[in-house]
Every structure is written in C-alpha cells, then in structure tokens.
Symmetry: C2
Subunit: 436 residues, 2 copies
Amino acid sequence: MNEIQNYSRSPYGFLLQGSLEIYSLSLYYMCLEYEQKPDFFKKYMTRPHFIRSLRLTNCDSPLRHSPVFLRCRENFPQVIFMHRNFRIVPQIMFGSGSFNQLEDVLKPKRVTGGGFMVFIIDDVFSGKELEKRLPMRGKDLLVPVDVTHEPKTKLIDELVVKIRHYAPVNPDGVIGIGGGSTMDIAKAVSLMLTNPGSSADYQGWDLIETPAIYHVGIPTLAGTGAEISRTCILTGPVKKLGINSDYTLFDQLILDPELIEGVPQDQWFYTGMDCFIHNIESLHGCMLNSFSKAYGEKSLELCREVFVDNHPESAEKLMMASYFGGMSIAYSQVGACHALSYGISYVLGIHHGIGCCIAMNVLEDIYPEGVAEFHDMMKRHNINLPKIMPEDISREDMELMITTTLNLEPLWENCLGKEWRTQMPRERVEAYFRRM
Amino acid sequence: MNEIQNYSRSPYGFLLQGSLEIYSLSLYYMCLEYEQKPDFFKKYMTRPHFIRSLRLTNCDSPLRHSPVFLRCRENFPQVIFMHRNFRIVPQIMFGSGSFNQLEDVLKPKRVTGGGFMVFIIDDVFSGKELEKRLPMRGKDLLVPVDVTHEPKTKLIDELVVKIRHYAPVNPDGVIGIGGGSTMDIAKAVSLMLTNPGSSADYQGWDLIETPAIYHVGIPTLAGTGAEISRTCILTGPVKKLGINSDYTLFDQLILDPELIEGVPQDQWFYTGMDCFIHNIESLHGCMLNSFSKAYGEKSLELCREVFVDNHPESAEKLMMASYFGGMSIAYSQVGACHALSYGISYVLGIHHGIGCCIAMNVLEDIYPEGVAEFHDMMKRHNINLPKIMPEDISREDMELMITTTLNLEPLWENCLGKEWRTQMPRERVEAYFRRM
C-alpha cells in the first residue's frame, strides 16, 4: 500500500490531491517506470484495484509509437488511456469596438426582478472614459479594485461580504474589466458568492462544488491568458495558489483589441511576454500534446508578428496570441520560468508579468533559443528590466523563495522530466535568483 | 422606406432573414456605400431609426484604419460596431484512445431513471470493433445510419418518430459517431426531439427556439469541421440548407485520432481537402477577421504537414486542422468552391468532400495559389478525380445547378465582394461546371 502511495506521488499525484480518486500517470512516466521497475509494475498491474485505476494521460506524446510503450500495452491491455475533458469558455465576442455590445450581452442575463450586476474594474479606470461606457442599470454595483498588489484571498472574502451587505440576493452576473489580476478577482468573487467559507479553503484543484454566478471577462491587457484559464491565482495565508475548477472559467469573453491599445509600453511588453513565455514553456515541456502544440505554435508566431515585426494589427494579434497561449498551457503546463517567478512574486510581491521577464532573463541554460529571442525582443523595445537586489534579501526570505519555487512540482516535471529533483537542487535555484 | 429595404438586402440581408431584426453592414460595405452614395448615406444616417439599427460587422478588417472609414466614423459617431457573439463547443476531449472514456463522459448525464442514450453511428461500423466498444447500457438505443446519400430532412423526421415510438420520454443524450453526415444527423435529431414540426421548417438561421437534447460528437473522419459548426446541412424538399443555431452546436466533443486512422485513402483525402479548402476560402475572403485568420493560417500549416510532409503524427494533425478550420469559417465564411460544390451536390447527389475537390480543381482563376497547392497534393497522393460528365446533364438540371450555386449569396460576397453578380454571370458558372 505504501508503495502504491509513493508511486502515486509521481507526476499527477500533486495535481490530484483532493480531487480525483483515480490514479493517473502520463505516458512518458509509464514508459519510464516500466523500463526501470518492471517487477514493481507487473506486481501492481495484476492487482485488480490498481488496474482499474491506472489511467494514462498525455497519450499523444510521440512515445506512443515507442517499442517500450507498445510492449507495455501488449502485456497490460487493461491500461486505460486517460485524457482530460477540457472545458472551454463557451461564448466569445472578438473585435474592435465589441465592448459596446456589453449591454446586449448582459440583457438576457438580467433575470432577477430588481436584481443587479456587479462590475469589478481595475481602479486605474476610475473616472476615465472606459468606466463611463459601462452599461450600468438600476441597482448595478460598481466595484473598483486596486491591483497594485496581486489579489489576496482576504480581498476576495471582503468583496463577497461587501456584495452580500449590498443586497439580499446574489447578483445576476459579475463582470471583470482589467488585466489578469482583475480577471482573477472577478472569477474568484463569482465562485465565492455561491460557495461557503473562505476563498483560501478552495485554493487547489477541483474543490469547488457549486457553479459560480454568471461571469464575463473583458481584458484590458493581453498576455496573461487569465481570460481563458480554469484558475484564478490568489495569495492566501499559507500559499500562492489558484482556485482551479471548471466553474472558474468565464461564461463569456469580450475580446476588444481597442481596450488594450493605450497600455503603457513597459506593461504592454511584460504582459505580452507572459504569453511568449507560456508558449516556450508549453512547447518545450514533456506534457505537450497535438492540441497544445497547435495553439502554442500559432501563439508564438503571433507574438513574433507583434514584438519583432511590429505588425500594424498588433493589438488584434496580441489578443489572439494571449487566447491561443492560454489554450496551449491549459491542456499542457508551464515550466521553469513560471516556477521561479512564483518564488519572487510570493516573497517580494513582484507582479506576475515582470516577475516572468526577470526569471526568463537568466534561463538561457534551460530555454536557450527562447531566451535569445526574448533578449532580442527586449532590445527592440528598449526594455530595462529591474533587478531584484538579492544581496538585500534575508536568508529566511531566500529560503522561502526557493521552497515556494520547488513546491511547484508539475511545472518542474513538465520542464525537466521526472528526475527533475536531481537536476534542480536548492543551490541551483538560489544561483538563478542571485543573477536576477 | 423602399430605399432602406433595398439597402438592407446588401451583405448581411440574406443572413438576417427570419432572425435578427437589426440591420447590419460589414465595415467593408459601409466604406463602399459611404464613398459611392454619400448623400444617401447621410440622409438615412440622420434618421433615428436607422442610426439605432446600423451596426457594423467584421470591423477588424484593415479598412478600419482607412481614411474613408475614419471620416465616416467622425461624421456619424452613432454607428455601432457589431460583432458576432460566437458560441463554441464548451467541452473537448482530445487524444488517441479518448474514445474509451465515453462511458465516463456519459455517466453524469444519465439523469432520467430508466432513461436511455441514443447512439447514432455510421452503418459502415455495423458489426465492427468500434460498434462493440460503444458503452451501451440498460435501454440505450443503437441507430445505425446509411450515409451513402447526404442526410435529408425526411430522414431526420423519421428518426425522431422512431425514437419517440421507442420510449415515452426523451433520451438523456444523443451521441453521433461517424463523418460529417453522421455528425449532422445527430445534431438535427437532438434539435428535433425538443422542437415541434418537421426539420425542414428550421432550415435557415436561428429558427430554433428550444435547446436541444445533450449531444456528443465523435468524428471518425477529419476535415469537414462539422464537429464544431453551428449548422447541420440537410437536403429538404425545396433546398439544401442547414439548421443554423447556437443550439445546434455539440455539448461535448471526443476527438480521438485513432478513430480516423483506418479511413480509405480516397475518402481521407477528399475529407481532408474540405478542410484545406475552408482555409483557402476563409483566408481569401473579405469577411476575415483576426480571430478567423489565426485559426485559418494554423489549420493551413497543419494541412501542409499532413498532405505534403506526410508527418508521422498525421492523424492528430489532421484532427486539429479540421477543428481549427471549422473555427476559422465559423467566424468568417466559405467561398466560390463551396458555392459550386453545393450546386453539384444538390442536383447530382455528389458527396460534399468529393464535390469540393471537383470544384476546387477548376478554380485556378479565383484561388490561383490554393489550386496549385491542391493539384500538388492530389499528385502526391495519386488521386484521380471523377468527372461529372456535363454532357449527360439535362438543360433543366444544369439551370438548377447554376441557380443553387448563385443563391449562396454570402459565399459569393465573401469571395468577390459586393459587386459579385457582375463578375459571376450564369454563363461563367456553367463554364466551371462544363470543365469539371
């Protein structure tokens, strides 16, 4: 039993904690296990319980044509291929000026007599043109949010209390207008209005039980992929981790390239690079399948049109790149750069996009071509990355940064394979931080 | 009033019949009208009713940067940009062997006590391995369908009667397993189980009022894009036209590349070319936006990997190409090749994929590069296209073919622009047919 438990701590063990009861292995690791521990494998494959629950994920890896896999499959015909049932935002409006149609979109959703909508908007727009264009009607509630710091579970809980005090019924909808942080706040609030307790209770995978309030995402920054992801990243009392669930996904997106046209150059670049990095990490990872690959490759091409060619339709292209990049990682995984960026974001409070750039800047040994391309793009746009000043970071904080980074097991496994721990000792992580 | 009516017969008039009450113009045509009839435009733009209802579609055309548009917009700030709110199949499972998970997918949908599922399967699989792998439980009903001829509204109505006789309650789900025709039958049956009358009553745009029965698509051929489209093409007593609605879309797709691996070479090629042609038509059309473009360009690349490079992961690539191609045309439109193919399909009963190839073969004056590439792919795969023998076609049938083809106004407008009628007289259409 112990052995099985240990075994199931491999690849997807982390992902599955607290969610599925079944045990999954990616095809890659199954081949590895089968080659390295054939007796162990045989022993448990012939136990009925184990056989029923062993399901193979990422079966589209080219490994499925490998002799070791074909041999393994022949010996164990009971192995079940397992693919994720991938939920997608079901309704999308794309195009310059589509923001003007928000009123039409919300109209059929105003179902509660005397009910209301909640507009959660980045407070950078307070008093600005965009805020005035919101189709606020009747008792609709405007909630400007300060996203100087990335969203905390405490903020979500406070917003939910605020909305509950505002009216005795739940709103008919929650509309998030802003960058990745605002998207995440809107997603989290729409979930917590229908699920009891604190948002911190749901940081993890598939812990949400009740569907969210109808929620709409309207990005004003492109690159994070938050508009299409099944998570909303929150900093809780003990961890930075998202509420991952199918209910987290928006019900409707409005992708209006006009909204991202006035973004300051630095912010535009850092957020766009988040998307570029998603693609590099997804395409170089071992969790890639043909679905992720098609989206990731096209997203990368679009990034190049934006950041290298300065294409005249850059806003449209970047918005599509962000959407495609999000679709790519949603069916695969990010990697080393995101893992390192989480460490510096959690401890130093650095924003996600810029944190990713700071991390990417020192990862030429892992993603040589991607980092070279990243440096070229930085140069073309005269970007001077801030330094994180490692000499000012206390020993304790440095250890916390390293621990936070190394805890992101699926990211490292996607990047370096199952034996990643031997390749990524704490010293190597620290060395990256010291060069940032 | 007459003038307005005439005016609204332009681009989207055809699409809007029987559906939206609003009047829409694509940006392209608005610019054209504004330049050619400035007085007319001004007159109606200052009438309140007209202003409220003039909405601009396809606003992502590069024309939005053109001086004529910027001038027009400045003079008429009340013009509303109008983008389609695009519905997408919300749940997708992708990967080799994913068909094995159909049982898991259906389990939570079996909600009626003593209820049943309907499996609609191409009868080419009768008695075969795939049929045996269907997770039939309890009172589930197997419905093999003969798709030698493309589906007729009469067939749909008969299947609905059959299912109603089989049980006093509606099924919990309809699962379609097969090529484009089988997909279309499953979509139509799931709609007609909840909507009264004959399926012929709903051929058109957005005529369906009640949501369909939960329905799942499992393609065994790749290329048609039927798995993701919002239509199901049916031959009715008076026309070949789909039931176009958001309810037509599948609720779930299972894209298992293993299922398309045993397809006969000719059928594989013709169906794959349907996808290649979708991309050529979408990318060369004036209804293209950045969303359609990103999907169409990537789909075209994937087609080349399959039909030129013979990539080892061809089945996965072609399945993704079909999905992306479908997404591309869903937000834009097909063109001349599909218009001609509908003519020969309707009158001569030629299957859609092969009809498209026969039409593409003679369209070098409209799509020179696309047709050259198509010829190259035919050669690589030793394809000998059948001839349609125009000398054996009666004068009456020839006229009907021409009329059917020219009735597809949106397709021609997408291909040749608003003045397409002057470019495509009946004689030119007949000349294409005579060369097929």
